[in-house]
Symmetry: C2
Subunit: 209 residues, 2 copies
Amino acid sequence: MNIYTQPVQELIDQFSRLPGIGAKSAQRIAFYILQSAPEEAERLTSAIQTAKREVKFCSRCCNFSSEDICELCLDQSRDLNIICVVEESRDIAVVERSGEFKGLYHVLHGAMNPIEGIGPDQLKVKELLNRLGDGQVNEIIVATSPNIEGEATALYLARLLNPLGLIVTRPASGMPVGGDLEFVDELTLGRALTARQRLTDGATDAAPV
Amino acid sequence: MNIYTQPVQELIDQFSRLPGIGAKSAQRIAFYILQSAPEEAERLTSAIQTAKREVKFCSRCCNFSSEDICELCLDQSRDLNIICVVEESRDIAVVERSGEFKGLYHVLHGAMNPIEGIGPDQLKVKELLNRLGDGQVNEIIVATSPNIEGEATALYLARLLNPLGLIVTRPASGMPVGGDLEFVDELTLGRALTARQRLTDGATDAAPV
């Protein structure tokens, strides 16, 4: 005999399928929902249904969007000459929060991973190439993750886009700001040393030595 | 301008309202749902809807149940003379997993907390008294949490039920099995020492010294 009645067990099971939610959390959420007001559960289910129904991919940058072209792509105040390529939609929020980028985005929906069979055809690379036809874009920042898959993707894109006369860049690797030198891993520190920057008048010169 | 399109933001907001889910987890879950198959999202929403629609309280023990009387209360193999009182439905699973209890349960749906205005009337105490009318029950184990609210509830129930000729017990406090003496807090160790048990022939005698 199950300890929980079937609909409760099913609720727990469905929540424990979500990423980052273990058996205990799923149980806690299930009981929270069972005890909450019907309207609250209703708001959750309708948020899921609305999102699944209305959200599609922006036909330009492949970000999630409720419209054919997303708000970011339609924003006239942004720099149309530069595209920041990211792996996932959620990475756009990370770059936006830095406040250092005002151009457009392109979401690859993954990174190259030959072992799992993810190559350029599984990513939104063709869609990126299509955006470059009008010659307006002159720089591509490849902001994929600094891991094996992300680096491989960046290298692939550099080899693909450099011959088209585009400047392909990558955000610098180095010591995290506010971190402690003691805790920086040797690979990151090695890169940070190679890309060391000259200090002039107390300010950091952006050019490497 | 929001970084996320409105339905995505709403999905993140609804998930971050759930207990134990912060902004980052909610975002991760939202993107997982957006990228998952429509059937998977459908299974989640229908689990929520079914649970909210079908699950009610067992009219006997106040546990969550799909029927008027829950499976545990209907289980003929259980000991009808003893009731284990717990704060929440989820606590039943904890007691069941111990394998040391074969009686019935009663869910109070909370513990006494005068500051938050939770007294006996806000708990399922009346429902517990109603179950004792036929004289079949002779022991009540009050398995509320070993914190201030749980102890207060246990004391209240003891004062209420002892005059009815019932044996009111409480699970022992003491050192956690498999734990390290070094990490046992002084209050728990104090109780464990007070309730120390005689070792005879290498086995623990259940009776206190």
